[in-house]
């Protein structure tokens, strides 16, 4: 729970926006496995500064990046074995956050503990739980197994963004912006008009889309070498959790050329961790199940994805600037294609309300 959010008053039936308290009881991405090492790094998650490091045995550790004594950032200290030593007065903390030595005191004070956070590594991702640690059920870590599956090849990147996770998820669930914000890469005009089937399963929002016999978008058609063809396109895009949006696409070529597959699969993984209301960490992966060793396709996928996602970053940062700086209130209009986003925003709102102790029907 964040104390800055205590004044928020929840109303039944509302949708989350950039001012809604962040959902804390959720597995979020702390970083990529490669980002967490014996060099202590710090990151802010849900308003709390966290120091991240690995034990000698390689286990990731997350503790609050703030010494309980004089608030010195612990990430500016050093590791002695598995013990984190504060750089200010040398207080020492074990990986659970328990103080094991305070050099200037004759005893180890029992109250000199730093909060630790549950972390779980599912390579290439290290997940963190910022909420009630008792609820940190590892079985609720979302599936991203294709990222480590040898049958798939992934490219990925990361951006810090001056946006919020509500707008980010809404953007990801909103496929009608593709041909306009991302012309030439992910969007085609046919796709924007294609009928979508949206459904909710628990707190997951799923959009199924089928588009038959139309040209593929460049981001899929070019690496598959089928831009000249008309293909069927099936996609499953889902708000899987406040931390994860996945988009699974299948491009079906009913008349494949000699030696080429008829189905091309793409799994896109969007990982979002709020740093605060108004700033997010964002990691993306674009995975494919063909031409696994082709560095040229890697390069194309990386560049095309980066271009598209930077277009999203620019748009979302511009929107938040307007929302935060324009003094005249506006209640944004909603239309039929916004249904998936509104379903997601209702879920985020209800999750935040439940964490604050509100119960709505």
């Amino acid at each position: 729970m964040s104390y800055t959010e205590l004044d928020f008053t929840f109303q039944p039936g509302a949708y989350a926006d950039q001012s809604t308290p962040l959902v804390r009881n959720c597995w979020y991405v702390a970083g990529l496995s490669s980002e967490i090492s014996r060099d202590i790094v710090s990151r802010r998650f849900l308003g709390v500064d966290v120091a991240l490091y690995r034990t000698l045995a390689g286990e990731p550790v997350a503790v609050r990046n703030r010494c309980p004594h004089r608030s010195f950032p612990l990430a500016k200290g050093r590791l002695e074995g598995d013990v984190l030593v504060c750089g200010y007065h040398g207080m020492q903390f074990d990986p659970s956050g328990r103080c094991v030595n305070m050099p200037s005191m004759p005893i180890v004070p029992a109250n000199a503990n730093v909060r630790s956070f549950p972390v779980v590594e599912r390579a290439p991702i290290v997940w963190i739980w910022m909420g009630n640690p008792d609820l940190a059920d590892e079985s609720k870590i979302p599936d991203t197994s294709w990222l480590s599956d040898p049958a798939w090849q992934s490219v990925g990147g990361t951006f810090p963004m001056n946006s919020d996770y509500v707008a980010m998820h809404e953007n990801l669930l909103d496929q009608t912006h593709f041909p306009f914000l991302h012309p030439g890469t992910v969007g085609t005009p046919e796709y924007a008009r294609s009928k979508l089937d949206v459904r909710q399963e628990g707190n997951v929002v799923i959009i199924d889309r089928k588009l038959k016999n139309s040209p593929p978008p460049g981001i899929y058609g070019i690496p598959a070498g089928i831009m000249h063809k008309k293909v069927d396109r099936m996609s499953d895009a889902r708000f899987a959790s406040p931390a994860l949006h996945t988009a699974f696409a299948q491009i079906i070529d009913h008349e494949p050329d000699e030696g080429k597959p008829s189905i091309y699969r793409f799994n896109i993984t969007h990982l979002i961790t709020p740093e605060s209301n108004g700033r997010i960490h964002y990691w993306w992966f674009n995975s494919r199940n063909f031409e696994l060793q082709n560095a040229e396709i890697d390069k194309f996928m990386y560049e095309a994805s980066t271009k598209a996602y930077l277009e999203d970053v620019d748009a979302l940062e511009a929107i938040l600037q307007v929302v935060q700086n324009d003094v005249e209130p506006q209640f944004d209009l909603n239309f039929a294609p916004d249904k998936p986003g509104l379903m997601m925003r209702k879920i985020l709102y209800q999750l935040a309300a439940a964490e604050a102790g509100y119960q709505f029907g």
Binding site: Y3, S96, R98, P109, N111, R115, S116, P133, D134
Partner: protein, 327 residues
């Protein structure tokens, strides 16, 4: 950040055993109270007409089943002591609607979530922090074992909750009214696999027995984590006067009040922080006393204690009627 106390209202009272009552404390406007983790406690501030200001420490239980209380609730349990003391004041005067102040949660008794196995040992009212640890271990599906000892089954608060939560992993040990059948902590420790950490909360002899057993078995002392509310008054504590040499003021310290709390209530503000004899901020120089100084801190060394020239005013006191401090 300056620590201010939290306003709460007694929202529910439940008699758990003949001597133990559970109190639900709720924020006045239903807003969430600051969160806490297993082992945490609050200081409860109240004023007794007989003894003056009283500060008592109570562990936060968090709930009785595997669910959590709502975030606007702190759940504590108070055992009435034999004499008419602070806890009796609470039992006699707290009613639904009584307004109180409590501190922000503090945790001196942290459960290590990484334990390969956790051994929980509770004695009597020491069940309160142990129950919150048990709930956490059960909910997270961790490897644990628990022993809960008391003189009579009927005096053991949350006994049924413990059995329901822990199933075969907990055992209830009845030691009898004469306490003849004491829980064999050494046998309990000896049966543990390597890497088990033990969490002990109970009367001082139980905590000492656990530490002695660990030492006898060659366990690293850090594997025994214990909570002992040492700042609570002893049964034989008496009231006395404190004289402050510098200001010439005289302050009455009730038998249930610490010197620190009596001075604070009288508007004399001295340095302090932990209120449990650990941080070393509150010791004041002693000029004289007509009794023995009872040292109850962990901070002063043997030489300082033996000198009789200083004491931690948050927990220690005199057996006499007068204590003169150089302050």
């Amino acid at each position: 950040m300056v620590k201010s106390n939290l306003d709460v209202i007694v929202a529910g009272i439940r008699q758990l055993t003949p001597r133990i009552r559970e109190y639900l404390l709720r924020s006045p406007d239903g807003a969430p109270l600051p969160p806490y983790e297993p082992g945490a406690h609050i200081e409860l501030h109240t004023v007794s007409p007989a003894s003056g200001p009283i500060v008592r420490h109570y562990s936060l239980i968090g709930g009785t089943g595997s669910w959590d209380d709502t975030p606007d609730i702190y759940r504590i349990a108070v055992q009435r002591e034999d004499r008419q003391r602070g806890s009796a004041h609470i039992h006699d005067t707290f009613q639904v609607g009584t307004a109180l102040q409590v501190s922000w949660p503090k945790n001196h008794f942290m459960l290590d979530r990484r334990d390969s196995k956790s051994l929980l040992i509770a004695g009597g009212i020491g069940i309160t922090p142990i129950l919150s640890m048990l709930r956490s271990l059960v909910r997270r599906g961790r490897h644990f074992e628990m022993a809960y000892a008391g003189r009579q089954a009927g005096d053991m608060a949350y006994r049924q909750d413990v059995l329901r939560l822990a199933g075969p992993h907990a055992r209830i040990h009845v030691s009898g009214d004469d306490n003849r059948n004491v829980l064999d902590i050494q046998a309990l420790l000896a049966a543990q696999p390597e890497g088990t950490n033990a969490y002990v909360c109970g009367p001082a002899p139980m905590v000492k027995a656990a530490q002695a057993a660990a030492a006898a078995l060659g366990w690293d002392a850090s594997r025994i984590r214990s909570e002992l509310f040492s700042s609570g008054p002893g049964a034989n504590d008496v009231a006395f006067d404190v004289e402050l040499r510098a200001s010439g003021r005289r302050v009455r310290v009730g038998r249930d009040t610490s010197i620190l709390d009596a001075l604070t209530a009288a508007g004399v503000h001295v340095l302090s922080d932990c209120r449990r004899g650990e941080c070393g901020l509150c010791p004041l120089p002693v000029i004289e006393t007509d009794g023995e100084i009872e040292h109850r801190d962990r901070y002063l060394d043997e030489e300082e204690r033996a000198s009789g020239k200083t004491l931690c005013i948050c927990v220690s006191r005199t057996t006499g009627s007068r204590l003169v401090l150089d302050a």
